[in-house]
Symmetry: C2
Subunit: 404 residues, 2 copies
């Protein structure tokens, strides 16, 4: 008797289905496609000779440590390093505030386990990071989407709804936000709104998860303080990552929170993957101690500036006047809104097959069916030449293939 | 207003508490303690110069790949390598049968998400791996423990209970077992019982998760086929790991199962940690391609043989005649049963503080309160001299401090 797998899968596994886009995304990996899809650093953002030198030192001086188990919360020297760095960035921390994780998405998974029961209310901004929607959805919670505008998430809309939810006695447990150079919109949450959002969190007693994957990659304008740096009650749980400023392949992120949260996170993690890889931690630590993180951030920001400018000027030239896009001051993305009759999901296959250009369609960044005429362009990975060549091809393909 | 964390934690987080042993385990890390506690390879089991050479090659030839993201199921060359290796070990596999994971515990977490709903019945052997109990417990399931004897889990006991559970219409969804050189007992499931267990799985329609972390580390006797190699219906999901045969620090394991299970595992993993670290995969691949895994397995097994022999002969000499222990043919552990009046949990603090010797008390390996007069000795990490010195100290400290 062969196994009937569908009968055996859990309710979570049964509702976790492959998206229709998965097959198209495979096409975007073809070398002849100019891809604005994946949110990766470009290979020439890495500091290869420096990394090779660091690796040589780590493997010659710490070979046994590289191969052995590390402690669940991360190597203590690495937690020290991250705590000192957070402090320098205006978010005072001691090592007991830091939990090293296998990428920042794992931190979100741990926080879901820590704070969410089935049916709980959770708030995100719309559009938001696809991975966060995936992770939060595994907890079978009710996800509410706050609309956004040029100043980021609309805090007034949130307050109105919090009042209503409070009357129902069903306030949210957590709010997940990417306030700076948001994924996918590239927008920054306004300072006034940051204070306002924190007030709401205190008043309505919920936690804010601040994902700051892109915040250090500013190439224009003035820095805005992180939510964590404005937080007086320990309500903000900060997620950091090395994926955009050092290497996504090391799979290292961290969570900066009150010691109670870190302690519970360590316990929960013992049932998940026990600890992060040792090599990555020791490599990142030595890289960081040599000041190379700052060097890579500066180098990456300069490249992003040129790429963003090229993207925006090509959009200006090539895209129809009834389309709009955001003008990021940092990060990887611009968010494009097309005339309503264009369906970016339907158009993607045409764009990839005929014009050899790829992007991520808007609906991927919403929990419910929204953003049909929107799309995300990631300008980080393609070269300046590819951007210059790709945007006109994209404009034409969308005009041909995008009719809904 | 400061946050009252206890009010905010989920039901999972609330029931996940620090064990009373955690503080004692911190003491075992002191350099003057001879520790038979942690299940780690000894530092001199690693092939350091070989690893350094491999690292040099990987960082010089594949630096961009080392730093970049890998695909969720693992690099395709690494899946190919593992599939070919599984095939060579008598378990025919193609890459679509293999999902690379961040250690084999993550594979168990993914399988829990895939097969378990709250309240489901799950079967383990008792005693069993502490980490598996932790992981399975997060799913809020009913864990049933099959007693074990010298031939491993008692399959007749299981059949009786399956009959009863079938009448209740509450058959188990999965059975988790470590059939070869079991953790913590060092025992091997008898070949007849392997066939019998597979028959039961087919008849009562449940999955077997076979954790084979130690199976290749045989130093005496004849190999017994894995459950996976005897499986005709795809009911056995095999968990492999590099933690005991290459390096725990790389955090790499794999799951070998039907393509349906691998596909679902990939989808579920996108909400967990997205992919395993690239460096570890490329390092392990090059290490493996050079035949060094086999070299390390041979070297490790020889060291384990000497250490096991020293441990057993010291137990024979030093332990009271009314105590018993298993005689492993491979792996890291022997399982000691002391006279009933000795409480190994109470004795641990005395053993660590006064005699500077550590072990893991029996109850850690059971879901319910069992094994009070039992303990696990891991002979892998301490040197021969330390084993020789440690066992008599342990015998004396248990006699002094172990009264219940």
């Amino acid at each position: 008797m062969t196994v009937n797998w569908a009968e055996h899968f859990s309710s979570l596994a049964s509702r976790t289905e492959d998206s229709a886009l998965a097959d198209i995304f495979k096409l975007t990996e073809r070398p002849d496609v100019i891809s604005f899809a994946g949110g990766f650093p470009a290979p020439d953002m890495y500091l290869i000779p420096e990394v090779q030198d660091v690796a040589k030192e780590v493997f010659s001086r710490h070979a046994t440590k590289v191969l052995g188990y590390g402690p669940t919360p991360g190597f203590s020297e690495f937690r020290d390093f991250i705590a000192a760095r957070q402090t320098r960035l205006g978010m005072p921390a001691v090592p007991q505030n830091i939990l090293i994780t296998s990428g920042s998405l794992q931190a979100l998974d741990l926080l879901g386990r820590m704070f969410l029961d089935k049916g709980d209310r959770v708030v995100v901004e719309g559009p938001t990071y696809l991975g966060a929607i995936t992770t939060l959805s595994t907890f079978d919670v009710q996800i509410e989407t706050v609309p956004t505008d040029e100043k980021g998430l609309q805090v007034e809309w949130l307050e109105e709804h919090l009042r209503a939810w409070s009357r129902q006695d069903r306030l949210p447990r957590i709010l997940y936000t990417i306030p700076t150079f948001q994924n996918p919109s590239g927008r920054v949450l306004d300072l006034d709104r940051r204070y306002y959002l924190l007030e709401l969190a205190c008043h309505y007693d919920f936690m804010i998860i601040e994902d700051n994957a892109y915040g250090e990659l500013r190439f224009r304008g003035e820095p805005v303080p992180t939510l964590k740096s404005l937080d007086e009650e320990g309500r903000v749980i900060y997620l950091g990552t090395l994926s955009k400023v050092f290497s996504p392949g090391v799979r290292l992120g961290w969570l900066h929170a009150e010691p109670e949260v870190v302690r519970k996170g360590i316990l929960l993690r013992q049932g998940v993957d026990q600890c992060s890889n040792s090599i990555g931690q020791l490599l990142a630590l030595e890289f960081g101690k040599r000041g190379l993180l700052e060097k890579q951030i500066q180098h990456t920001s300069q490249m992003l500036k040129q790429k963003a400018e090229m993207t925006l000027s090509q959009l200006e030239k090539e895209f129809p006047p009834d389309s709009q896009w955001t003008r990021p001051e940092g990060g990887f993305y611009t968010w494009v809104t097309l005339p309503e009759h264009i369906d970016t999901q339907k158009a993607l296959l045409h764009c990839v097959e005929k014009a050899r250009v790829a992007y991520v369609p808007g609906p991927a960044f919403y929990c419910r069916n929204q953003g049909q005429n929107q799309l995300r362009l990631c300008y980080s990975e393609p070269s300046l030449d590819k951007i210059k060549e790709g945007i006109p091809r994209l404009a034409q393909a969308l005009a041909e293939g995008g009719r809904g």
